[in-house]
């Protein structure tokens, strides 16, 4: 072989020659995600790895997302996402970082975490309706996975989708995390539409002190209820409550610290790259993706609405303990952004109204609520689908 042929071989192996227009588009999408993460500070912990993963997965000839070629992100995806391991480890760390105190102090806010799951099922119906059109092909498994975007909880969405519709993991995870990042933009108009100025100004009573023993018994109680009622949700609820018990028990601080730091950080890096790697042009640039993105937005909006409406109703029914309806919006989960948004929208009307702690109750209730909804889908869809 001569130098000419070598240069030719090299030329044939450049990206310039091999890259497809779709890959260019997806690399640009990855760059946009990085821009949103770094410049706009939208969920950077998630969008930096996801955006970078999207870029790396769309490089021709590099096979970075292909486990059969020993592509490193492909290996991470195969061993951690397909198995459901990574989302559960994230949940463990989330549990170790979550304070259920506000929920224990005011348990009726738990019900707001139920109301806000309505968006899940509306989006599920929407996906089935889209599936009836000739252009899009969504079955019940797909629809359930799409619906769970409305749970506003990344690990739950990934876990459910990896079990029911792994082919859709890319767009679903991206939609879930993107809308979680966009909560400060999506939620406020809806919150204002369904509340009056007076309602938004409602001040709530200060939360009582919660004892350590209550905080220790709470995760165990939730797990036991879940075992009795809904075993299919116990991987999610179990991981969450294990982390929380490790934190609240106070006797295994070194384990709880590791769950909250080294372990969750490592898994976040791996999971983010893996999720991003599912944004490969040939699988992502389809009509289905547009449908998923649209349905995800619907799910978030409906969930916000039903959360607010139930909170409104609760406020009407309990004169002695007023409830600011804004905290209902936090029931979608998206911890802690949704609670912060509730606080911020409240302070726009009354700068001295601190709703953050009150909104943390429905916010963490929303995590439980969407895990329960996930359990229902995992229990019933494979039977009837």
């Amino acid at each position: 072989m001569d130098l000419g042929r070598a240069l030719l071989e090299f030329w044939k192996s450049t990206g310039l020659v091999n890259i497809s227009p779709g890959q260019v588009v997806m690399i640009l999408v990855g760059l946009v995600l990085l821009f949103l993460a770094i410049k706009k500070k939208f969920e950077p912990l998630l969008l930096v790895p996801i955006g970078f993963g999207a870029i790396l997965a769309n490089i021709p000839l590099a096979f970075i997302a292909d486990a059969t070629q020993n592509g490193f992100i492909g290996i991470l995806y195969h061993s951690g996402v397909e198995t459901g391991l990574f989302p559960l480890l994230i949940f463990m760390g989330v549990g170790a970082m979550t304070d259920f105190g506000p929920l224990i102090a005011n348990p009726k806010t738990l019900i707001l975490g139920a109301a806000a799951q309505f968006g899940i099922f509306v989006a599920l119906l929407g996906a089935l309706a889209l599936g009836l059109t000739p252009w899009i092909d969504f079955n019940l498994f797909d629809a359930a996975s799409i619906g769970i975007i409305g749970g506003a909880d990344g690990p739950t969405a990934i876990y459910v989708t990896s079990r029911l519709a792994p082919d859709l993991l890319g767009p679903i995870a991206v939609a879930a995390y993107s809308y979680m990042a966009l909560v400060p933009i999506i939620q406020p108009p809806i919150m204002k539409l369904f509340t009056t100025r007076e309602e938004r100004m409602i001040k709530m009573e200060q939360l009582r002190h919660v004892t350590q023993l209550e905080k220790i018994l709470f995760p165990i109680s939730v797990l036991i209820v879940c075992i009795i009622l809904l075993p299919t949700a116990t991987p999610l609820i179990g991981a969450l409550m294990f982390g929380n018990l490790a934190k609240e028990s106070g006797v295994v601080n070194r384990l709880s610290d590791t769950m909250q730091n080294a372990l969750i950080n490592i898994v976040t890096i791996f999971l983010g790259l893996s999720v991003g790697s599912k944004m490969q042009a040939d699988k992502f640039l389809k009509l289905e993706t547009l449908g998923i993105l649209a349905l995800g937005l619907v799910a978030f909006s409906i969930g916000t609405m039903t959360g607010v409406l139930l909170a409104k109703l609760m406020n009407k029914m309990s004169k002695s303990h007023p409830i600011n309806p804004l905290i209902g919006a936090a029931g979608v989960s998206a911890v802690p952004m949704a609670a912060r948004v509730a606080n911020k929208v409240g302070q726009e009307e009354n700068p001295h109204n601190f709703l953050l702690m009150h909104a943390m109750g429905p916010n963490v209730a929303g995590v439980i609520g969407s895990a329960v909804a996930a359990g229902v889908l995992l229990a019933i869809v494979p039977v009837i689908g």
Partner: protein, 83 residues
């Protein structure tokens, strides 16, 4: 049965279970709190005072360097040095 009917059934079952689960949880949490606070009250509430630092940053108090606080700062610093 059509797929939309399946979806509706899922919606009704799903929301019913979610509400049932969380309503049960409300009662259990309340019950738990009552039992704990009645039979296992906390002897002494652990006071976690705002660290002096929080104040110090804002106001840079002139009189802040009394022995105790400096000792505390050195102590904390040393504790981290030992890690």
């Amino acid at each position: 049965m059509s797929v939309m009917q399946q979806g509706l059934v899922l919606m009704v079952t799903g929301m019913a279970v979610v509400f049932a689960f969380l309503v049960i949880l409300i009662f259990i949490t309340k019950l738990l709190s009552i039992v704990v606070r009645k039979y296992f009250p906390e002897k002494e509430v652990l006071i976690k005072p705002t660290p002096p630092a929080a104040k110090a940053i804002g106001s840079a108090p002139v009189g802040a360097h009394d022995g105790a606080e400096i000792a505390a700062a050195i102590a904390v610093a040393a504790a981290y040095a030992k890690r």
